[in-house]
Amino acid sequence: MAEDLIPNQIIALVSIIVSTLCIYGSNISVIGGILAMLASVLSTVFGTNTLRHIGEHSLGTGIPSIVYMLSAVGLVSYISALLLSLHYDIPLIFPILSIIFAVIIAAITSWICKYVFDIKVEILTKSFVSIAVASMLLMISLSTLIAQTYYPAVIYETVIENGIILLLLIISVMGIQNPYNSCLGPNEDQYRTLSLSCANAFLMSIVISIVSILNTEYWMVYLLISLICWFVFFRQYIVYTRHQAASIKTHGLWPTHDGDD
């Protein structure tokens, strides 16, 4: 794998802070949906970039299963934080509380993997927590795009009670694990994988902006924006792929050692 051009810490910091702020800003009409889309893109990129690091180690089963489990962990913490803030009637604590719950459950899961199953991977706890938080932020931002607000009462009525949340779970698992699974190999490159993950995030918002037809009359705006952005990022992905294919054509099929472009 080539050297990372953007370090993981910067992606993690930027995407957690900016996504949380965007979720808080989703109350504003029209702009709120665009902010929710931005949050979904950032959290997808964060999840995929963490998966690139943990995916190199063998955990005993395939890569998609990590994302399946941690998205389920994220959904459990999302729903429990939502209902707690609904009960105490403080909508403001909902995103922060769900991040805290996701960190707790993912950390306990990784400790069981470490000490009961004896999996010796150093970055296990960090990666599990990161993927759980990323998938949870992704699901919250997609729900705010549907509900047009982050108020728990509205989200409970429009997303959870009618079962749309299961669609969000499956869609976010696919969005996070697909880019790494389709790009992995000896000359996997950060720019190529992350451009595909941006394209996937906008592909998700195409579907979700059609679902949001129930709650907003501006769904056409969101659909148009996500279609244009998907086209731009997917074109960029094809450009990177062609660039790397050319480098393989001139230098041979397999790199002789790691990091050889």
Binding site: T61, M69, S71, I108, E161
Partner: protein, 235 residues
């Protein structure tokens, strides 16, 4: 009331985790006929089993609770047995190999020596009779666990909330599927690769840490579930 929910969720999740260990999983090597077992990873086959079980339990919503639990178990068993039957059909009539495994010497039911039927250079192919029966036991346990979780959540929601039956069923289905997603992947991290049912040597090494870890993760998740149900009832 909430304490009963906690206990039944822990029992259900632990049964799911134990059931996963019984299912013969071959992974990617089985798809190339170089290892015995169902040709896909443990998480995928268990999620399929869980979804079928919970949906067939949800079909019996207006029946007594024991009918819902048995219906979930039968749904899971049908799903796994159809998968194993067609996998064996493809292996026997398509690839042309006899079902056998090198993980044990003799099949205790048919009495065939496995060594004679295993192709050189492979660890077996197809699903032998004892692994087939082990898979049935595993799907029975997993289906019962999933539908116990479903039934306990549904009953506590239907007695305390004034929602419609469909809404309560939707919420209970979502929560019991999440339980399957987490516990099944934890169990497959314990298995690490392939396993051929309860007659395998690997099963005896793996079942104890598997049960302990599933109990631990089930206890943690059940605490959060009780928090969720408490919030739903009092919210």
């Amino acid at each position: 009331m909430l304490f009963e929910l906690l206990i039944s969720l822990i029992i259900g999740a632990t049964l799911i985790g134990v059931g996963v260990h019984f299912i013969p999983v071959g992974g990617a090597p089985a798809a190339l006929s170089t290892s015995a077992g169902i040709p896909t990873g443990a998480p995928m086959i268990t999620m399929g089993m869980g979804i079928t079980g919970v949906l067939s339990a949800a079909m019996m919503l207006d029946q007594p609770y024991y009918v819902m639990i048995v219906s979930g178990a039968v749904g899971s068993m049908i799903m796994i047995s159809v998968t194993m039957l067609f996998s064996n059909l493809v292996h026997i009539y398509g690839v042309g190999v006899p079902p056998s495994s090198s993980n044990f010497e003799k099949d205790p039911i048919t009495g065939f020596e496995q060594e004679d039927y295993v192709s050189p250079g492979t660890k077996g192919h197809g699903i032998p009779t004892i692994s087939f029966i082990s898979g049935l036991i595993g799907s029975f346990l997993g289906g019962i666990g999933g539908s116990i979780a479903f039934t306990s959540i549904y009953s506590i929601l239907s007695t305390n909330l004034h929602n419609s039956m469909i809404t309560n069923g939707t919420i209970a289905t979502i929560f019991s599927l999440l339980l399957f997603f987490i516990v099944a992947v934890m169990a497959s991290y314990n298995i690490r690769g392939t396993i051929q049912g309860f007659h395998d040597e690997k099963f005896k090494q793996k079942i104890l840490p598997g049960t302990i870890s599933c109990l631990l993760i089930a206890a943690v998740l059940s605490l959060f579930y009780v928090l969720i149900i408490w919030g739903l009832i009092n919210g």
